[in-house]
């Protein structure tokens, strides 16, 4: 029994020591301020992505409007050619 007790005690102490090492000895990560700055950066990126998406949408609409206007100008020029032919007859 005492042998068993000794073994169990040894294992328990070892485990406790390892756990305390992990909890207190190995914590060398960023501090609160650093984590906040990382989050701020992430938020900034997300905002920029949204803005870019909106701008791409707006650019797309403008391209469509420009295409329509160019077609309108072409039609007028085509009409002028037709009218000149008809006037010549």
């Amino acid at each position: 029994m005492s042998k068993l007790n000794r073994m169990a005690t040894t294992i328990g102490v070892t485990l406790l020591f390892s756990a305390s090492l992990l909890q207190f000895g190995c914590s060398s990560g960023p501090d609160e301020k650093q984590l906040t700055s990382l989050q701020t950066l992430k938020d900034e990126v997300a905002q920029l992505e949204k803005e870019i998406k909106d701008k791409e949408g707006k650019k797309g609409e403008l391209d469509k409007i420009i295409a329509e206007k160019m077609a309108g100008v072409k039609k007028i020029n085509d009409d002028m050619a037709i009218v000149k032919q008809r006037l010549a007859k």
Binding site: A8, V13, S37, I66, K69, I76, D79
Partner: protein, 261 residues
Amino acid sequence: MKLNAVLFIVLAAALTLSVGLASAQQEMTKDQWQQEMNKYTQTRNDLQTKSKALDGSISEANAKSVSLDGEYEKSLDELYALVGSDREKAAAYRTEIGGVEAKAGELMRLSDADLLARSSEVKDLEAASKELWNNKLALIPEFWDRVTELDNKAKSMTETLAKQVKTYTVGTWSKDRDCLWNISKKPDIYDNAWMWPRIWQGNRDQIKDPDVIHKGQILKIPQGKEMNDEEKAAAKKYYGKKAAAAAQAVPQAPPAAAPAK
């Protein structure tokens, strides 16, 4: 008891160890944080560059759009100037065509019989359509197509009317005793001699004087059993003149009795 205590310690230690292990996996190391910072900083910078480039593109596109507006307006003015017109006149012409189109639409929806009753409006439509061609603006495709369509509709309705209009070919007085009075009296025409002004008014292009008709003339016989106001007024005027002439001379024979020549 001692064994129980030892067992408790072992269990507690095992639990603490597993929690420690779990939280160690979740927490970022400083190296990892730095990597993340670098990555997101680069991404932000790239996105800022892209956003700026997009601002430039949008600005250029807006400028292009405005420029195209100017080009369009200038070209439109040139187009109207080609036919000696301008925007204002084109707008008025557009309205005029719209009015004629509305009339054509109204007449097109009528049954053949109703169309016949409104045949004068079909003639007016034909005239209006011809009048539209007199404006050089008709040469512009926008108007050309619409006026051509109006022409087609007027022609179509005229053909429909032509199919419905009865005709009579004038014979001679000596053989057929043809005059408007007698023609009107025929059972297959009006079966009523007093309707002769109807034939006269329906053929004003051919009959200047209702007392004078010629052999070979093809007279349109307008449908209907009653005279309209125009025909009645024409008849009244005719009889008035006859009465005035008769008052100065010997009473004449019944009206519209002049022989066909």
